[in-house]
Symmetry: C2
Subunit: 341 residues, 2 copies
């Protein structure tokens, strides 16, 4: 992980060197500050997953140069994530991110954050060109990032219009929240870039060219991503705020959470009416009523059943894999199974 952070420094320096040839010092300084503010502050799970996945594919120790390349590609995912998060915070009108003000909330930044997103994305292709431009998989790697960018922004769109249709209908008509809608949002918005992308990057680094292998990896990763997001929804309501680092507000925000979808499928007419009435209201009494209904309908029990079933299905998919090492997926699964944060 120290090595991973060292690689970040190398990459920022390279970007800065390119900027210096093109821009005056105030712009060069801006870009460095913007990158340092937005890229490295997260948990780095996605970036580190490239390194760990590559290690699994190589079944052991990596050469120094291989490790550097895996780190560099891992950082591309962190850059991609930063690009999406900066934009997401603008769109969600969020206030803080990773314990500091959202970038667009920094007084001198404001809407310049829109352009900074574009720059962050452009950096990805600079890094890829510099470090993988002469690899045989270069073009496929570009296509992978293009595809995942499109998938993730399509998922964002779905999320945004589902939410705004709900709001515009005056909070009525929770019927639009179904498992199908929940699953599409989750798969497109999160699963591709958080689970499939790191695994596919590791596979490319390892020289895998069989398209069918990527497809099988995708199927497994999508299932993990779905499970991961259901956990996220669960922890928003039942997690320990001390542990997850925030106080969940999915009920207040009228989110299309797995919990409310489950409640809706289990509720009778009067319970549905109660949800219609109280879901998406910010007063604590309404939130308490929703939570009480979750207890009544044993949504927690439903989650535990889902978790068990999901774990079994993912494990079965992994065990059915004949070519890729199971460790490539198991290390990810172990990281998220029964997580409390």
């Amino acid at each position: 992980k120290g090595k991973f952070m060292d690689t970040f420094k190398v990459l920022v320096d390279e970007i800065e060197a390119g900027d210096k040839a093109a821009m005056p010092p105030n712009a060069v300084k801006w870009v460095r500050e913007m990158v340092e503010y937005n890229v490295p502050g997260g948990k780095l799970n996605r970036g580190l997953a490239v390194v760990e996945g590559f290690r699994q594919l190589r079944r052991g120790v990596l050469k120094e140069s291989e490790l550097f390349r895996a780190c560099a590609l891992g950082w591309c995912i962190e850059w991609l994530q930063a690009f999406f998060l900066v934009a997401d915070d603008i769109m969600d009108a969020s206030i803080t991110r990773r314990g500091q003000p959202c970038w667009y909330k920094v007084p001198k930044v404001e809407m310049k954050a829109c352009n900074d997103c574009i720059l962050l994305e452009a950096h990805i292709y600079k890094i890829i060109k510099t470090h993988f431009g002469s690899d045989p998989f270069y073009t496929e790697l570009l296509e992978l990032f293009h595809e995942v960018t499109w998938q993730t922004s399509s998922g964002q769109l779905l999320d945004l219009i589902t939410e705004s249709e709900q709001r515009d209908s005056g909070g009525g008509d929770l019927e639009r929240y179904t498992y199908d809608v929940h699953r599409s949002i989750v798969v497109w918005k999160t699963a591709f870039y958080s689970f499939y992308l790191p695994v596919a990057c590791a596979m490319m680094l390892a020289g895998i060219t069989d398209k069918a292998a990527y497809k099988r990896a995708e199927d497994i990763c999508i299932k993990m991503g779905e499970y991961f997001q259901v956990q996220d929804d669960y922890l928003d309501c039942y997690g320990d705020p001390e542990v997850i680092g925030k106080i969940g507000t999915d009920i207040e925000d009228s989110k299309c959470s797995w919990l409310v979808v489950t409640a809706l499928t289990r509720a009778d007419e009067s319970q549905k009416a109660l949800l219609q009435e109280h879901y998406g209201k910010s007063d604590p009494a309404s939130v308490a009523k929703v939570k009480a209904l979750y207890v009544e309908l044993d949504v927690k029990g439903a989650f535990e059943a889902y978790e068990k079933k999901s774990y079994e299905e993912i494990t079965a998919l992994i065990n059915a894999e004949k070519v890729l090492p199971h460790g490539l997926f198991l290390f990810l699964l172990n990281k998220i199974y029964k997580r409390s944060k």
Copy 2:
């Protein structure tokens, strides 16, 4: 040009077909509406320049399939422009664009426009993959769009921070407005994507692989782009609002315009003080004082001299070109020379 619009319809249909496989109908509909609102409403000069440039390189008539490919690639530039303009309007807090409300000003859209930018950009790589994915220049074409995207957003950054530093200094210190600053903003923000990109696209379509030829084309295009933007600055003040379709506000907006830079280089201390005092104020009396100073300093004459010199330099560069057909550049130059809109 009818053919060009026909190609747009094909491309939107292709994108929609991809969306349908991935998203529910409300999202599919959103994407079509968003694309139709933002992509085709401009003058289409950049897109058409790919077609015309390709025709020049082929010295004559194009096959139907070649024409379609040139149109499709031209549309990629129009998509890129739409992506930048949607973001630019958010950042500039603009109200209208091409005679309709800016996309982010449409009530149901608002900040979702940030994500729509990302989608517009993602479409470029879908179109390129579909129509040029098996061409020998595919990877170079991807790199060209990556590079130009980075250049343009770097130019935007420069423009944004120059403007906000000026504003934060309380409108004082116009000294930061120099020909160098003006030139970097213009070259990076406009010239690469508006002039070099269409020409380079046409050259790729024509199968040109010599890197030196691209470099020479870039030099010519950058000079044309610079000239084009100086004209833009000139027309903002001296153009006929009926003809250019808007009332210029560069003086009120304290823009780093070629006119004010020229005035600053020609002004004595008391004239500089007058500019410091009145440039960037929105009251008509201040604007009139600035315009009167422009007359006193014969900024118009300076523009005419610049125009003549610039035209001669560009023509000389074109005439020195031994390999590429001069028509590739002359048709662009003729379009902009002594333009009144």
